[in-house]
Symmetry: C2
Subunit: 194 residues, 2 copies
Amino acid sequence: MSLQHALLATLLDGDATGYELAKRFDIAASNFWHAQRAQLYAELKRMEDKGLVSGETVLQTIRPNKRVMSITEEGLEELCRFVTEPSDRIALKDDLMVKITALDIADHDAVLADIERRRESAVAQMARYVGDVERMLHGRDEETFVRTTHRIGPYLTLLRGIALEEENIRWCETAARLVAARRQRRTAGRSRTA
Amino acid sequence: MSLQHALLATLLDGDATGYELAKRFDIAASNFWHAQRAQLYAELKRMEDKGLVSGETVLQTIRPNKRVMSITEEGLEELCRFVTEPSDRIALKDDLMVKITALDIADHDAVLADIERRRESAVAQMARYVGDVERMLHGRDEETFVRTTHRIGPYLTLLRGIALEEENIRWCETAARLVAARRQRRTAGRSRTA
DNA sequence: TCAGACATGTAACAGGTTACATGATTGA
DNA sequence: TCAATCATGTAACCTGTTACATGTCTGA
């Protein structure tokens, strides 16, 4: 299982509580992983038992106490080992594509609305990624950035996120066009036979 | 859960045994879903109990007997209902991106090899999809095809698969270039300080 | 002769989701 | 006043993976 590895990689950005980590993970890993908060707490506990992370309780007065997790030497080693292992194939589940497969037996308007929702969220997500990249480059061009930065990993995953969303948007537009064209045909056919 | 819906959609291509369905699913849904054979048998049984599919046992002599599943009226209705529902967000887990995130702490050569493997499988997968599209169009141009075919759903998911793989290939090339550039820098730095 | 296709399934385990419980503080 | 943020966690349940069991036929 590599949610553990995903969490270790996220901790490279600095120590965090489970709560903070969940939010960070949701942003930083949004284009390649997703996990529930409830899952993180359980996973972090297991990781602590294994010695991959260590948690320190910070007492607070007006807020509930928190446990700040940090990656240990062993965690770092385990992450290194994982990074040099060959990867599995991408696991994905896309509801919309199931609907698209069965599109022809159902109401086209509902599917068109669904495609439009997907397009809109892709546009929004892409804008976020573009902003992140600009903040990361901080005025430098890519070549300079790659030469001078401490870590290029997060930059590369952002590029991926942008490319993925662009592709998403393009596909949504094509699909909407073709489905709409077909709906016309069906409607025309219906009025002819009516 | 919508593995059930994914299976119903796959059965629109015709009746099938669990075994056949698993193979079909692996090909037709390869760019948006993946399921284990063991899971299908369990799921099909549950679907039969619900009345979404009906199975007929076919006795065979030289082969083990088989159960051919077909979608029922109720299954069709349930699928229609599902298609008009709004979709969830895409769920994906990509190991490689976790590795890329943590790339900077580990051996770059291993990651480069991993990126290259990903690129190669994307190239192969794309070639398969392109072949599928050609077989589907069967000499017709897109406009004619969309006007005359019985189902456009499978065509749209194929377009998506192709776009996804193209994007994959492009990203792999960019990432490999940037990681290689950085490895050079590191190696140069090392020899300077040695 | 050996791998792979055909064909179905179970059992054990690992991973993931949803709902619930608690409760103060802060900003709209 | 209402929703959101901070902060942690449990319990029940649902999904998904891996390994195992069985046995013949076909082609390389």
